[in-house]
Symmetry: C2
Subunit: 349 residues, 2 copies
């Protein structure tokens, strides 16, 4: 297991070092955005805003399509494991484009010598999560590499789905005046992973929020339809990075009220101990939405009726100041909320 020094690790890397891949390039923050914008997107000819999932016209059907790799360590953590996480993660990426997920694929990358019993347990967890979501795993792949060429097992799940009626959420569809909602308390997943890493000498009773959000999204779309402009699950890079990505893609700003962001006491104290910002800590069952003001109350009520949105709340609004994300503090000052820079915590998902 990699030991990290969170204080050093959050420092931005010097520019010359970026000639090699850094852990921070997988963080979901600024370095990753740069990698995508400067290396991958230009080659692949895919500019445009970053979405959690693509929409592809196939015959008469708009298919929503998303892929995600999972390398979390430890593989079993409070509140979940790599198997259920891989299912929920991809289900959630589809849901963020307003899709009803329909089918999943599952690719295993296994290290020679990996215990068969653990492979069985992880596969059982995939199966249970897929059944709970009503979404079958219909195809897959298995590769094995030699000892030392992987760390146990990595999974890649890909999902396809169809759009719900009246659902057009997109990272680029936020407009000034939209109400900003979150579906629940932030920071639980990252804190649970931290607590499960013995070498950090840190323990807490908090469990990951890893859960599927497609039911919650269906309820939100049912209540707000096309007024649900933008959805994003705040995974790697946390709520701060999600808000910055959406602000950039929609060419808008966001102002949040710091006191209204729900941070559980255990997350707050863990972050204080480790010098982390809860806004940068990963979630796996928490979404942020931009909703037209006229539908915000109805959408919020629908969220609170769903088990995954019981503690949903308004945390701010969308402004006309492109790319600028700020937080109003308790004393009335305004501070910049930046994307995660560098790497806060590797192999979180």
């Amino acid at each position: 297991m990699t030991t990290i020094d969170p204080l050093r690790a959050t420092c931005p890397a010097p520019r010359a070092e970026t000639e090699r891949v850094l852990l921070g390039h997988g963080s979901g923050g600024r370095l990753m955005a740069e990698l995508l914008a400067e290396v991958i997107a230009p080659e692949l000819d895919t500019p445009g805003p970053l979405e959690d999932a693509a929409v592809v016209g196939l015959g008469d059907t708009d298919v929503v399509f998303s892929t995600d790799g999972f390398v979390v360590t430890p593989r079993f953590f409070p509140g979940g494991d790599i198997g259920s996480l891989a299912v929920y993660g991809t289900v959630n990426d589809l849901a963020m484009r307003g899709a009803r997920p329909v089918a999943l694929s599952l690719a295993y990358l296994l290290e020679e010598g990996f215990p068969m019993a653990e492979l069985r347990a992880i596969t059982a967890s995939v199966a249970e999560a897929a059944r709970a979501c009503g979404i079958p795993v219909v195809t897959g792949d298995t590769k094995v590499v030699g000892r030392g060429a992987a760390d146990g097992v990595y999974l890649t799940t890909t999902g396809i789905g169809v759009r719900l009626p009246d659902a057009w959420p997109s990272a680029s569809a936020g407009v000034p005046g939209d109400v900003v909602l979150v579906s629940g308390p932030i920071g639980a997943h990252g804190t649970a992973i931290l607590s499960a890493r013995e070498d950090l000498g840190f323990e807490t009773a908090i469990t990951s929020d890893s859960r599927p959000l497609h039911g919650l999204v269906a309820a939100m779309i049912g209540a707000g339809g096309a007024d649900v402009h933008t959805l994003r699950d705040a995974t790697r890079g946390g709520l701060a990075s999600a808000l910055n990505e959406l602000a950039e893609a929609s060419r808008v700003g966001v102002e949040i009220i710091e006191a209204d962001v729900p941070v559980p006491a255990q997350v707050a104290s863990a972050c204080e101990l480790l010098g982390l910002d809860p806004l940068h800590v990963a979630n796996e069952g928490c979404l942020v939405a931009f909703v037209a003001p006229r539908s915000a109350d109805a959408v919020l009520a629908a969220m609170r009726d769903d088990p995954a949105g019981r503690e949903a709340r308004v945390i701010g609004h969308v402004t006309g100041d492109p790319g600028r994300v700020t937080a109003r503090t308790l004393v009335g000052a305004s501070r910049i909320v930046d994307m995660l820079v560098g790497e806060q915590l590797p192999r979180i998902c």
Copy 2:
């Protein structure tokens, strides 16, 4: 890089050892079939024949859906690289279900410290291969793990497509009397990878056959329609494993004429040197088809008109002897053609 002793590595593993994942579980042969049948399929509740791709009803459209991981070493080899291989591999899996590929997703798993220049080169190769096939990469994911937790870069590509008119090929659709065709010479990919591994002290001028087969399949379906019963690209485990999988899924037998199987002289001599059976060596641009006799001539002619099928030929026929694959030898004897058992050559694709 893993050094292998091909003679030892092809021995079946003792049963007790299978409590851990072996390299052979990724071989595409007998051990892998057992892993899928005994560990993965029962948990996931997905019995039925193994197909290269799943068909999923989405709205009014039958979507063909396939995923594949790529861990090949070396990443650049004569005739291709991990980037183009990842595109063609998934394009081919879609084509084997009679699909016109429409879009791809691409998930990177990167090791910290991987040279950015190589990442750029691999991404450029993905892009060039995708453009050549007319199939865009529409979504993706990037994960980074610490040094020592991967070997440079692994890719997972997933593809979606729609069925060609009159195309219903399936691993389970072969019937006795069908003509067995191959699209070209066998063994080039595996031999090229072997020759590129310096530690094997072995060299040849042969290049991988890595190429897309969707155009060839479209030509075959155009000529034979629903008479093209079964298609499979003979990748890991080689032609022998592909024939055994199809025989099992279709509950038929196969008899091939050994002298009619096209084995290039360089492949034959490399295999003799290393104690390998060319029928077990991986291909990445060669398919095997079961076609109803009345359409076999037309399909063969269409194959030969396509650059990927220039050297296509008939190699045998389907029999009524379930699961039994045999080769008629030059002297008129008949020998059993078994699936690859254990591991012949790891990390071939």
